[in-house]
């Protein structure tokens, strides 16, 4: 018996697949032989890994280095309340072992980067992009194109989702459509802009469907097609994609022949590398506010202010800051805050370059304020 033959227990488990003419025993054995790498064990990774394991994919690799947070649980159904604070991969692998003990789950608890991506991806047949940032999306795309692996793409934001299969060998890649990334500050992440909890369930399930079709060799894949989904209007729209003859990666004359620095390419500065004009720790900021030696500027959105706010703050969302600077007294000392620091750090620079001489970033934002000054302020 070869390793891909189905045991009696597997036959029982997969019987509803086995009686499908399109899958049958041979298709199910193909699923068992297939090695799938899911990059990102978050919103998309949750339905993806659970459905792929349940479907009988033989080897399932997972890449993630985060820990489970309470704010993950409204959409990341792979995890439960008791997983908060645990490494995602530890929790995921336990859960997936229960979903299907016949699937071998391989943890890759690393941040995928140019130094490790090809080595990891080469061990798999199909790669699934469930990441949450542009640098990693370009990295996954490029590594898949260079390694000759199909990249089952999905992305989500607020109420919108996208799905495609990028396969540079036979069709367009991510760069054929998205040749150059957007300016980093213009496209918010789900952490900044929010996301409907069920949306990754829908998009991740569509990605799982594409993986299963590729693995079993059935149906029409989404190679050369991009699906746009609008959950509010309940509307699907399909865009035809073709290989871009000017693609820097997968055209006949590529300019990209190895992995590059994706943070730099996307103009993304790591949070730790962002330099505010000056930082002030929350307890010191609280003292200044009490002494009325500084004003407090909140650059978060209205929705975030509805969740939690520090009394006395002036609200100007970061997107309006440049137009509304005249509302602020340039001669005064200002403390700027957002949720955790990146937006207020950018805001301190805007203020400093506009004639404000005495500007501080509230270190760690309202989240740190809640932990260090006023625990009655909700964390989100």
């Amino acid at each position: 018996m070869t390793s891909s033959e189905l045991t009696p227990r597997e036959i029982e488990r997969y019987s509803r697949h086995l009686i499908l003419p399109e899958i049958g025993s041979s298709g199910q054995r193909k699923l068992k032989e297939t090695r799938v790498l899911v990059v990102g064990a978050g919103g998309l990774g949750s339905p993806l890994t659970m459905y792929l394991a349940a479907a009988g994919i033989g080897t399932l690799g997972l890449v993630d280095f985060d820990q489970v947070e309470a704010s993950n649980l409204h959409r990341q159904v792979l995890y439960t309340e008791s997983d908060i604070g645990r490494p995602k991969l530890t929790a995921a692998i336990e859960r997936l072992a229960g979903v299907n003990p016949h699937t071998e789950c391989v943890p890759h608890p690393v941040k995928l980067d140019r130094t490790n991506a090809l080595e990891i991806i080469e061990r798999y047949d199909i790669v699934v992009d469930g990441t949450d940032n542009f640098p990693t999306r370009y990295l996954v795309n490029d590594a898949c194109a260079l390694a000759g692996k199909p990249n089952v793409y999905g992305s989500i934001f607020r109420f919108e989702g996208q799905v495609s299969v990028f396969s540079a060998a036979t069709g367009p890649c991510y760069r054929c459509l998205f040749a150059e990334p957007p300016p980093a500050e213009l496209v918010p992440s789900c952490a900044e802009g929010g996301v409907l909890g069920v949306l990754p369930g829908i998009i991740g399930s569509l990605q799982a469907n594409e993986v299963i079709k590729l693995a079993a060799g059935i149906g029409d894949s989404m190679i050369g097609r991009l699906l746009l989904f609008d959950a509010l209007r309940m509307r699907f729209h399909e865009v035809k994609l073709k290989k871009n003859s000017n693609c820097p990666l997968c055209s006949a004359t590529p300019s990209i022949t190895e992995l590059i620095d994706y943070q730099q390419f996307c103009g993304v500065t790591n949070e730790a590398d962002l330099e505010p004009v000056a930082n002030v720790p929350p307890p010191t900021a609280a003292k200044w506010l009490e002494e009325r030696t500084a004003g407090l500027l909140d650059v978060r959105t209205k929705e975030e202010r509805d969740i939690a706010q520090i009394a006395g703050a002036i609200s100007i969302p970061i997107g309006q800051l440049e137009q509304r600077l005249q509302e602020l007294d340039t001669s005064k000392r200002w403390i700027v805050h957002c949720h955790k620091g990146p937006r207020s750090t950018r805001a301190t620079r805007t203020l400093a370059s506009s004639g404000f001489a005495d500007v501080f970033n509230l270190d760690g934002g309202i989240d740190a304020w809640s932990q260090e000054v006023d625990p009655t302020i909700a964390r989100y």
Partner: protein
Amino acid sequence: MKIRVNGEAVVIAQPISLTGLLEQIEIDPRTVAIELSGEVIPRAEFSNVQVQSGDSVEVVRFVQGG
């Protein structure tokens, strides 16, 4: 005159650049990729490329979340 944007009818007063079209539908040109009649248009060309009556434009937002 009528064009189609992501499959839906949009009325424009006269032939308009992609930049002008995005302004009309209130989308920042730096946050999307555009396909016009099946061809991806580089961002640097948005202001030079004209949309005519009957054209079909696909506007695809950059979405990073997962």
